[in-house]
């Protein structure tokens, strides 16, 4: 019972959804699934959010290292929950639009969450540079090719690159860096992307079948 029912559910639901693609009256089932999923995800969040609360409360209670930060997390979490669930400061009251500019929820988003997110995102610029310095090595032929392609694109998309090769006569204009960059995007890049995509598609077919047939079942906590 504990083992067979989930396997049956997986097989049954999966087959049903595969079939629905070919049966017009059932076409909306895929859409229905996304609605179910959204509803299940909210319930699951009670587990996730509960876990977040428990971990940080435990940390505070047992005064483990860095427990002070746990208090900050807890306060931030609860304040945001209160502001959003009760729609505090929203001119429309509880039936108001969640994204209304004057609501606390939106003010917290605009002034705290959004700068934090943007900055975290901007860290990428630094990491991209350090990765280029550290890992972008012409170790072998493969890496050298990667490097050259990246070089051409990097230079080809700035005025600097245009300047660099603008002396090349028009009949050989393909060799100008910006044009070379465009050619790489529509030629070799397209081919590589395609090979990767076809592979991924087949990989998914094979993995999905393993799951539906119950051959792959580790995700159910069933390791036999």
């Amino acid at each position: 019972m504990k083992r067979e029912v989930p396997l049956f559910i997986t097989f049954f639901v999966g087959t049903l959804l595969i079939a629905s693609v070919f049966i017009p009256p059932a076409e909306s089932w895929g859409e229905n699934f996304s609605v179910y999923f959204d509803i299940i995800a909210v319930f699951a969040f009670f587990l996730g959010g509960g876990n977040l609360l428990r971990i940080h409360l435990q940390k505070v209670a047992s005064k483990r290292p860095d427990w002070g930060y746990s208090i900050v997390t807890l306060v931030a979490f609860l304040v945001m929950l209160a502001a959003g669930l009760f729609k505090l400061g929203n001119p429309g009251g509880i039936s108001g639009n969640l994204t209304t500019a004057q609501s606390w929820f939106q003010i917290l988003f605009q002034n705290i969450m959004s700068p934090l997110g943007s900055t975290m995102y901007a860290l990428l610029a630094f990491f991209v540079a350090s990765a280029s310095y550290r890992a972008f090595r012409a170790k072998n032929r493969d890496a050298t090719i990667l490097l050259v392609a990246a070089f051409i694109i990097l230079l080809g998309r700035t005025p600097f690159g245009t300047m660099l090769t603008s002396w090349i006569p028009p009949q050989y204009d393909l060799l100008q860096v910006p044009n070379l960059a465009i050619w790489i995007m529509s030629g070799p890049n397209l081919a590589g992307q395609r090979a990767i995509m076809i592979g991924i598609g087949l990989g998914i077919v094979s993995m999905s079948l393993r799951i539906l047939l119950g051959i792959e079942r580790t995700y159910l906590g069933d390791d036999r």
């Binding site: 975290m120 990667l146 990989g203 079948l209 792959e216």
Partner: protein, 401 residues
């Protein structure tokens, strides 16, 4: 009387004067009405659940003359035994429309109105039509057939592997390193970090990550290494706990399992990354796994992991992120290899059989690309009928929608 004649003359002069000027069109337009659309036909929209009706018509003759005097079209629908209403406005030049808001129980009559500055022209109404529903989408028969073929190949090889046939599977570099990487963490007494991407369980890459977690955690349980798995989705947390717990049970050490091995952080992409970065620099994991669906965070994770000296094994099917993993990690699984990983790691014949099955799909793709490209080139360069037929046949077979 004289007064009226005078006005009539004045009008004539004005009209003649205006018409003589380049802008004369507008004055003429005021005078002439336009022709309605013709040959309006309504047909049932094929292969749907009985909700669609296709309309086609020949645009008004005044629309086809340049400059067009038609400014647009309106589609009107009336239910037989009910009132009519305007259901769509279309730009000039339009000659078809699909009404997708029909009900199987009703019968409809359509008409199309051509609109112009001077006035509108209503077409003749269509015959009453009732949408029908179909039970099988024949347009997708080719998809069904080819998907079935590939699936059958996968299942065939799984079966033949089950019956003991020996199968060869090439080495996948990143996966051969898994055991060593876990062993290293054990020796160093540092934890292993497992990041299953930032998507939820409704993404097949996350499911692939969780199946790989099953294999990894089995080794972890055997070696008694510490594993840490912060996740960004509650459902992934639940699934990952089940998976790790089962591995510990299978290793005969259920008491060593602890729910805190997996913890939920936040759904927010960069909030999650900020926390994972923090965990990395504070706990200094010896080995990091990044497997699943990754976006911009891939490089932040890989670079931070590198700065704490971790061995990094990554894999994703996100084409835009693969380069960062290739450049910044020690081993990277590229696209398809992510989905093959759990089968490869399991080392079970039937799982490996499925890999051979998907190779059949690739073989088909290769053959079609070679034959198709040759047929298309020969056909269009030297106009060979048979080649052109072959080319268009292949196109039809591989078309989807």
């Amino acid at each position: 009387m004289l007064f009226r004649v005078a006005i009539a003359f004045a009008c004539l002069f004005i009209i003649a004067g205006v018409a003589g000027q380049p802008a004369g069109d507008t004055a003429l337009a005021v005078q002439q009405t336009i022709a309605p659309v013709t040959s309006l036909i309504a047909t049932n929209h094929e292969y749907d659940n009985g909700t669609g009706i296709d309309l086609i018509w020949v645009p008004s003759i005044d629309d086809r003359l340049a400059p067009s005097r038609v400014t647009g079209y309106e589609v009107w629908r009336s239910v037989v035994g009910g009132s009519g209403s305007r259901i769509a406005e279309l730009p000039a030049g339009a000659n078809k429309f699909t009404d997708e808001q029909c009900s199987r129980e009703s019968t409809y009559v359509y008409s199309v109105v051509a609109i112009s500055v001077a006035g509108n022209a209503v077409s003749i109404s269509t015959a009453p039509i009732q949408p029908a529903r179909e039970w099988i989408n024949l347009h997708r028969l080719n998809l069904l057939a080819i998907a079935f073929l590939v699936s059958a190949a996968v299942i065939y090889f799984i079966q033949s592997a089950r019956s003991g046939k020996k199968l060869f599977v090439r080495k996948i570099a990143g996966l051969d390193a898994v055991d060593d990487a876990i062993g290293r963490a054990t020796e160093m007494g540092r934890p292993i970090l497992f990041i299953p991407g930032i998507q939820d369980m409704d993404d097949v890459q996350t499911i692939a990550a969780i199946t790989i977690l099953g294999r990894v955690s089995r080794v972890v349980a055997d070696y008694d290494t510490k594993i840490k798995m912060p996740v960004s989705r509650s459902l992934v947390m639940t699934a990952a706990r089940e998976t790790i717990k089962a591995s510990y049970m299978a290793a005969g050490r259920p008491d060593a399992y602890n729910d805190d091995m997996v913890s939920y952080v936040t759904d927010e992409q960069f909030g999650y990354v900020a926390a994972v970065d923090g965990i990395m620099v504070r706990e200094k994991p010896a080995t990091c796994f990044y497997l699943g669906a990754f976006f911009a965070e891939s490089l932040i994770l890989a670079e931070t992991g590198n700065s704490v000296g971790a061995i990094q094994i990554a894999g994703t099917a996100m084409p835009a992120q693969i380069p960062f993993f290739v450049a910044a990690c020690d081993f990277a699984l590229i696209g398809e290899e992510l989905f093959a990983a759990s089968a490869y790691l399991s080392n079970e014949p039937k799982q490996l059989g499925s890999l051979k099955g998907q190779d059949v799909g690739k073989a088909v793709a290769l053959v079609v690309i070679v034959v198709g490209t040759m047929a298309a080139t020969i056909g269009s360069a030297w106009d060979v009928t048979f080649m052109n037929q072959l080319w268009s046949a292949l196109k039809v077979v591989f078309q989807t929608n």
